[in-house]
Each structure stands twice: as structure tokens, then as C-alpha cells.
């Protein structure tokens, strides 16, 4: 793939506006990408602060710094903010920055909707966070908000929570439509589907998942709203409703949602491993097929979150086998990454360190996921810290490490400066040690029998909980260093070349660093 460099403009009135209006009115994919990324960083720090409260309370047995009621608000908001405010907007930000540049398009297909989909998000989270200060407190029913705890027994702020989820859903759907329309219509001539960079592929699939399941989530919260305010009984057994129906609807959204948070990571990691191994990615087409199969399978495995609700035997067996099947395409991806590195010419810059850690730690999370799929064993694992360890392994050193890797990898392209490699590596090692010290012991705590969402615990869990808390503080405070590194890079540093990385391939590396405000106003030529 080669391209014509397109980085000069005689069109002067198309530069960024001055002052705050640049950000408020912008329809530029790069500006909106930046907004999304900073927003998700802010949410990451807020959600992280809540995790610190949780781990501080769990440092020792007994109630020390918060009450159980507030503890439940913390676990609920931590989950919601990290998922909907941290990981998802970060991936949308990366899509905004990278998809048009990777496919040789001048911008996203629907730039005004792009602006809208970002600018409703701060309101959604303002509403959600403001519930902390309402009478009765913030939502306290866990991020999975199972009815009837989230309906009949919920604090009054649940209505604000529902509104906030609706806004987040609208934002995600608009973002997803924009990605699909852009990829389907705006690829430069010669960028065939099976030549698209894998990050673009991963986002195309993710966007379809979003369009399919966000309306389901909206349906679930609307039914809750009806139950709470309009006298219906969708989830109220006393009125003839069905509390388990809520879980089926929620997880029909929730399981694809899990892949929404990991597929873009697969794309990112494929690029980074390819670049720093200086070798063409192994098995491009099998990577695409693996992502497609994972996405399709994600619609038929939802009840593996519900093995203990009393499903019929046939359903338990079906969902167990279907869930285990997902290990096949996921395994293919891991093997492809390893094969890409094999006999490559590897260097270990910060993005590569994060990518390698991703492969190892995500695989550990995947293997514990396989254990969770075994129904009889799941009767012992379900709703214990083993599950907490599992999904944090796939989300923190999975999704979040991939986002950090992406930031280090592309930030020279975004702001034209190289980040400080020494500090980047320090950040990596602190995060790597922190993440493992936090979450690995949680496997032990869970197997030994500590349920999740407990503000206090029996004495035999005390030792490893303390270790886990120490790791969490290390990981949490290391992220301040990340903020510092990013700010330092934005403000100055060694100038980056257009190519940035020796082994990098793709259209985004053919433009100057920092990328001009408008790229590919005329499509690049591709062989």
C-alpha cells in the first residue's frame, strides 16, 4: 500500500476556530477525537478515585472509612463510569482520530452528528455524578442494576440514572452509525474491505454490535422507568412480572457490550505488534474472520452470566458449549499475534510493552473466562472475587492497556512530539506490576470463597485483600504519571517525523506529524 502525501492547503479559511468555540462547534474528526480522549481520561480518573475508595475500605476487615450504603454507590458508579465513560469514549475517540486517516477519508461522514454525539456525553455523566449529592444517594444496585433492587427498592435517583443511560446510549448509537457510514462510503479508491487496516475492521464490527444492542439497553431502562413511575410490572413478581426477564434483556445487551470493549483493542494490538516486530501481521484474513465470529457468537452466550438463576438443564448446556466455542476464534487471534512476533525483528518501545502485556494478561483473563464457562464449576465461581479478577484482567490490562498503548503509539502523530520514552517505560512497569498485584490475588480470594460486592469480609480473606489494595494504590497513583507524560508530550518534546516508527505501515503515517487539520481532502492513490 502506498499513498500520495497530502499535507498542504491553500484553503486558509478551513483552519481551526479560535478559543472555546473551536471545541464547542467543531465538526473536525481530529478535534472531536481529542475531546473524546480527554473526556474519557477525566472519567478514568474519577472512576479510578472510586476504585481507590473501594480498595481502601477493603484494606482490612471491618468497616473503616465508608458505610455499606455508600460502598454500594461506589461499586455501582465505578462500573458505570469506567465502562460508559472510560473505555467506550476512549475507543470512539481513537476511531475519530484514526478511521478517516486510515482509510484515506477527509473526515467522518456525518460531522455534525459527530459533534452532537460527543457533546451530549458530559451532560449524561454530570447527571449520573450529581446523583451522589441527591437525597437517598446515588444508584446503589451495581452496574448490572438487577430488578427489583433497581426498581421497587431503588433510591429516587434511579430516574436520573435511567435518563443518563439513555443519553449515553444515544451518543453511542450516533457514534456507531457515523463509523459505519464512514467506513462503508468514504474509503479511498483501492482500500478494499479486505485491505482495510485491522483497527478499522475491528471498529466496523464494534459499531454494528453497538447499533444492535444499545437499543436493547434503552428498552431495559425504559421498562424500569415504567415499573417505577407508571405502574407496570415488567420485573415485579407481585404484579405478575418476571425479575429474570430483566437479566435476559440486560445480558443480551451486556455480553455484546463486553466485546464492544475488547474488539477495538484487538485492532490496536494487531497494529502495534506488527510495527514493532517489523514483520507483516500473521493471518490477516483469519484475524478478520475471528473478530466476525466472536461478534456473532456474542449474541448467543448471554445466559452464561445467569447460570445460577435456575435455567433449565438444556439451556445451561447450550450456553456452556456456545461460550466455550468463543475460545476458538479468540485463541486464533492470540496465536496470530505470537506468530507475528515469531522471527520478527522486535524492539520494545512503550506501545510494544503495553501490547505484549495485553497479549499475556488478556490471555490469562480469557483462560479464567473459559473456567467460568464450565457450569458446575461456575456454581462455585459465580459472583465471587474470581469473577472480579477475570473481568478486570480482560478490561484493565485488556481494554485499558490497549488504549494506553494506542496513545503512546499515535500521540506523535497527533501532536507532532515524541513522548518521553524513559517515563513511558516507567509508567508501563508501574502499571504492569500494579495491575497484577491488584487483580491476581483476587483469584485466590474468590476461590477461597469471598463473594463480590461485599463491603466487609471474613478474616480468612484479609491477607490477600490487603495485598490487592496495595497493588490498587500503586496502579491508581501511577496513572497520574500517565497524565503528566501526556501533558508533557502535548506541550513539547523531540519532534516526530511523519513516519514516526520504523516499521509502521498505513495511510496515517504518510501524512506529516502533527497530522494537518485536514487530511486527504483529495483521496490518496493506492496500488
Amino acid at each position: 500500500m502506498s499513498a500520495v502525501i497530502e499535507n498542504h492547503h491553500d484553503d486558509h479559511h478551513h483552519g481551526p476556530a479560535k478559543g472555546i468555540t473551536r471545541w464547542l462547534y467543531t465538526t473536525n474528526h481530529k478535534d472531536i477525537g481529542t475531546l473524546y480522549l480527554w473526556f474519557s481520561f477525566a472519567m478514568f480518573l474519577i472512576g479510578g478515585a472510586m476504585a481507590m475508595v473501594i480498595r481502601a475500605e477493603l484494606f482490612q476487615p471491618g468497616m473503616q472509612i465508608v458505610e455499606p450504603e455508600f460502598y454500594n454507590q461506589m461499586i455501582t458508579l465505578h462500573g458505570l463510569i469506567m465502562i460508559f465513560g472510560g473505555v467506550m469514549p476512549a475507543f470512539v475517540g481513537l476511531a475519530n482520530w484514526l478511521v478517516p486517516m486510515m482509510i484515506g477519508a477527509p473526515d467522518m461522514a456525518l460531522p455534525r452528528m459527530n459533534n452532537l454525539s460527543f457533546w451530549i456525553l458530559p451532560f449524561a455523566f454530570f447527571i449520573l455524578l450529581s446523583s451522589l449529592f441527591m437525597e437517598g444517594g446515588a444508584p446503589n444496585f451495581g452496574w448490572t442494576f438487577y430488578a427489583p433492587l433497581s426498581t421497587t427498592y431503588a433510591p429516587p435517583s434511579v430516574t436520573f440514572f435511567i435518563f443518563s443511560v439513555h443519553i449515553m446510549g444515544a451518543s453511542s448509537i450516533m457514534g456507531a452509525i457515523n463509523v459505519v457510514v464512514t467506513i462503508m462510503n468514504m474509503r479511498a479508491p483501492g482500500v478494499d474491505l479486505m485491505k482495510m487496516p485491522l483497527f478499522v475492521w475491528s471498529w466496523l464490527i464494534t459499531a454494528y454490535l453497538l447499533i444492535a444492542v444499545m437499543p436493547v439497553l434503552a428498552g431495559a431502562v425504559t421498562m424500569m422507568l415504567m415499573d417505577i413511575h407508571f405502574g407496570t410490572s415488567f420485573f415485579n413478581a407481585a404484579g405478575g412480572g418476571d425479575p429474570v426477564l430483566f437479566q435476559h434483556i440486560f445480558w443480551f445487551f451486556g455480553h455484546p457490550e463486553v466485546y464492544i470493549m475488547i474488539l477495538p483493542a484487538f485492532g490496536i494490538i494487531s497494529h502495534i505488534i506488527e510495527t514493532f516486530s517489523r514483520k507483516q501481521l500473521f493471518g490477516y484474513s483469519s484475524m478478520v474472520w475471528a473478530m466476525l465470529s466472536i461478534a456473532i457468537l456474542s449474541f448467543v452466550v448471554w445466559a452464561h452470566h445467569m447460570f445460577t438463576v435456575g435455567l433449565p438443564l438444556a439451556a445451561e448446556i447450550f450456553f456452556m458449549w456456545a461460550t466455550m466455542l468463543i475460545a476458538v476464534p479468540t485463541g486464533v487471534k492470540v496465536f496470530n499475534w505470537v506468530a507475528t512476533m515469531f522471527r520478527g525483528s522486535i524492539t520494545f518501545e512503550t506501545p510494544m510493552l503495553f501490547a505484549i502485556a495485553f497479549v499475556v494478561l488478556f490471555t490469562i483473563g480469557g483462560l479464567s473466562g473459559l473456567m467460568l464457562a464450565i457450569v458446575p464449576a461456575d456454581f462455585q465461581y459465580h459472583d465471587t472475587y474470581f469473577v472480579v479478577a477475570h473481568f478486570h484482567y480482560v478490561l484493565v490490562p485488556g481494554a485499558i492497556f490497549s488504549i494506553m498503548a494506542a496513545v503512546y503509539y499515535w500521540i506523535p502523530k497527533w501532536c507532532g512530539n515524541m513522548y518521553d520514552e524513559r517515563l513511558g517505560k516507567l509508567h508501563f512497569w508501574l502499571s504492569f506490576v500494579g495491575v497484577n498485584v491488584t487483580f491476581f490475588p483476587q483469584h485466590f480470594i474468590g476461590l477461597a470463597g469471598m463473594p463480590r460486592r461485599y463491603p466487609d469480609y471474613a478474616l480468612q480473606f484479609a491477607d490477600w485483600n490487603m495485598v490487592s489494595s496495595v497493588g490498587a494504590f500503586l496502579f491508581g497513583f501511577s496513572q497520574i504519571l500517565f497524565l503528566f507524560i501526556v501533558l508533557k508530550t502535548v506541550m513539547g518534546g523531540k519532534k516526530a517525523t511523519g513516519q514516526v516508527w520504523e516499521g509502521a505501515k498505513g495511510l496515517e503515517w504518510t501524512v506529516a506529524s502533527p497530522a494537518p487539520y485536514h487530511t486527504f481532502s483529495t483521496p490518496p492513490k493506492i496500488d
Partner: protein, 383 residues
């Protein structure tokens, strides 16, 4: 508390002290690393299954990571400046699709077999209905007509670190579930308010307790002993404070226990006809309040603003005896307040009297008390 310690200028002295105080209390738990084997055939089978998958996962991880670490060591830019150019290999790709598939089948077949054994909802020798409440468990022995609540018995002072924590901190209850050894016991699990989940690791039973549904689980325990479990579905504020304790005893000891429980019930029924003084009701009511009401309405009846209404100074508790009885019997539609009609007439009368008298309510309101007869009258069919 621990933040305050950290901020203390003398922390260099204090912090090691904190760790010293903590470590003897939590000793010997560094080895609590794996699932407990359990004590029934099923739980042993589940444990073996867990270990089988665990070792398969370790083996997969070992193979994949060692190849990866080998490349990280052998294929660096220094040692291998010219990268290879291969980027596909169909045979290899087919192999690493088929082989994992076969491994998965090898895992799923024994798992499915065990699952079929677990799924047996035939009636047991003993059938116990387990009902989850916010935040306690009720056990009803369907054949033996025994029924009681099981509440956390750990003292609040232990939870708030005012006194040292006991050996069974948060794993002890005021009344254990007693079952006979060697008999098939079936649990019929449901809930009264929100979803709970009844988990007994030693039996490998975890079943959600869902309002409007009855889930079943069964076990045969041969070894007498005391086994401890927990609620495993977030059910509100005191989710972490509603443990499960099962005591397995020999058959004759079980029969004695059933007899004792029936005698207790008869005595309680006699109390209904007794003449009660306010002081007696107050004394009994305070205990019932502390077990059933305090979690929401709080120790001084002040409630929690915005969620749980205050009882101290409440108009109903002051001046409206009839509505007061009605709320306890029927609950409040659409709110967290459930019906407490499962309490005995004596208990209801005592707790209502207590809340009408305590915290200055007697002085500020009509001060009327409720006697067991009032509850009996309420329960009479209304014409």
C-alpha cells in the same frame, strides 16, 4: 480511620504498629488460594472438574507464553536484524483451530455429565423452603413444620472495630439450619423482596433466590459438622451481612432438635393469650427491632433521609395505631417496606409497641400500646 492514621505526623511509629496489630489476627491465610474441596460427592466432583480445567488452562498458557517469550528473547532487532517474511500458513492455522476445539470438547463432556447429576429435582427426604429477605434467611421445614429466621449474630462493635473480631466474624448466625447426615435434603429457594443467592461452598450449591420463582437444589452430607456460606447476589445495603450456617447432625440429634423447635413454637403461641405490660412488650420489642428494623430505620428510629423514613416523630407511630399495624402486616406498595406478617403475634405487638414508645414517641403521641390480641383481631377475616 486508616486515613487518619496515615495523616498522623507520628506515622513512622504508628504504621508498623497497625500492621503488627493486624497480622496476628489474619495469620495463616496466605494459603487460602484454591477452591475448598467440599464434603459431598457432587462438591468433590466439581472440585476435580475445577482442577482439570485449571491445569488445562495452565498448560495452554505455558505453551503459548513460552513461544512468545522465546521470540521476545531470540527475535529482537539486535539478534535478528532481518525479519522473516512469512505471514500465513494454512496447515498451522487449521491445526490451531481444530486442536483447541478438541480440547474444549474434552472439557465440556465431563462438565455436562456432572451438570446432569446436579440437575435432579426429585423430592428429598427432608424438604426445606429457603426464603431470602433483606437481610436474613428464613427456613421452613415442610414436613416437620419448623420455621425460623437466621440472622447475622456478629456484634456491630466487631464490625466497627471497637472490639476484636471473633473467629467466625461475619460467618455466624443466631440460628443455624440443622439437617440430618446421610439424608437427601432438598432446598426450595425463593425470595421475598429482591434477588438473593444461597451459596454453600461445601455442598457446591449456589442458587439464586428470586421473588416469584422457586429454584431447587439438593445435597446429601455424610459428615456431621458446621458449614458456612454466604449470600452471593447484591441485595442492598447489608448484602455482606447475611451469612448461611448449616449444621449437619446424626438422625437422633436431628429428631431432638425438631422436637425442641416444636415445643418453642407451642410456648410462643401460649404467650399470645398472656396479659402483657408495656414494659414487657418494650423489652421484647427492642430485641425484635434490632434484628428486623434497625438496618433501615436505624438505632434511634431516625431512618436514612430520602430512602428509609424516620419512625421517631412519625405521625403514624405517634397517633395512628391502626395504620401502624396495617403497614407491618401488608407492607407499603412500591417501597422497600415489606410485609412482616411472618412474625408471630407477640413479636409484632412487641415491636409496634416498642416503636410507639421509644425515642420520645410515647410523650409526643397518644402513647397507645399494641397487644398480641390486636394482631389476632386484625388477622380475623373482615366483614
Amino acid at each position: 480511620m486508616f486515613f487518619r492514621l496515615l495523616k498522623n505526623p507520628k506515622r513512622k511509629v504508628l504504621l508498623p504498629l497497625v500492621f503488627l496489630c493486624v497480622s496476628p489476627m489474619v495469620s495463616a491465610d496466605w494459603f487460602a488460594l484454591n477452591m475448598t474441596r467440599g464434603i459431598t460427592d457432587i462438591s468433590n466432583e466439581v472440585f476435580e472438574l475445577h482442577m482439570l480445567i485449571f491445569w488445562i488452562c495452565v498448560a495452554i498458557g505455558a505453551v503459548v507464553f513460552s513461544i512468545m517469550f522465546y521470540s521476545m528473547w531470540a527475535h529482537t532487532k539486535e539478534k535478528n536484524p532481518v525479519p522473516a517474511t512469512f505471514h500465513e500458513n494454512h496447515k498451522l492455522e487449521i491445526a490451531w483451530t481444530i486442536i483447541p476445539f478438541l480440547i474444549l470438547i474434552a472439557m465440556a463432556v465431563p462438565a455436562s455429565k456432572t451438570l446432569v447429576k446436579i440437575y435432579d429435582d426429585e423430592a428429598g427426604d427432608i424438604n426445606i423452603q429457603v426464603t431470602g429477605y433483606q437481610w436474613k434467611w428464613q427456613y421452613r421445614y415442610l414436613e416437620d413444620e419448623v420455621s425460623f429466621f437466621s440472622n447475622l449474630s456478629t456484634d456491630l462493635d466487631e464490625i466497627y472495630n471497637l472490639v476484636p473480631k471473633g473467629e467466625n466474624y461475619l460467618q455466624e448466625v443466631d440460628e443455624m439450619v440443622v439437617i440430618p447426615a446421610g439424608k437427601k435434603v432438598r432446598f426450595l429457594i425463593t425470595a421475598n423482596d429482591v434477588i438473593h443467592s444461597w451459596w454453600m461452598p461445601a455442598f457446591a450449591i449456589k442458587q439464586d433466590a428470586i421473588p416469584g420463582f422457586v429454584n431447587t437444589a439438593w445435597t446429601v452430607v455424610d459428615e456431621p459438622g458446621i458449614y458456612r456460606g454466604k449470600c452471593t447476589e447484591l441485595c442492598g445495603k447489608n448484602h455482606g451481612f447475611m451469612p448461611i450456617v448449616v449444621k449437619v447432625v446424626e438422625q437422633d440429634e436431628y429428631d431432638d432438635w425438631v422436637y425442641g423447635k416444636r415445643q418453642e413454637a407451642i410456648k410462643l403461641a401460649e404467650l399470645t393469650t398472656k396479659e402483657w405490660t408495656t414494659a414487657e412488650l418494650m423489652e421484647r420489642g427492642e430485641g425484635i427491632y434490632e434484628v428486623n428494623c434497625v438496618a433501615c430505620h436505624q438505632t434511634a428510629g431516625q431512618g436514612i433521609a430520602g430512602i428509609f423514613p424516620a419512625l421517631a416523630g412519625s405521625d403514624i407511630a405517634l397517633n395512628n395505631k391502626d395504620r401502624h399495624i396495617e403497614i407491618l402486616m401488608e407492607g407499603v406498595q412500591g417501597a422497600a417496606m415489606n410485609s412482616f406478617d411472618y412474625l408471630s403475634e407477640v413479636e409484632l405487638a412487641a415491636v409496634i409497641t416498642y416503636t410507639r414508645q421509644a425515642w420520645g414517641n410515647a410523650e409526643n403521641g397518644d402513647g397507645e400500646i399494641v397487644v398480641p390480641k390486636d394482631i389476632v383481631d386484625y388477622k380475623e377475616p373482615k366483614i
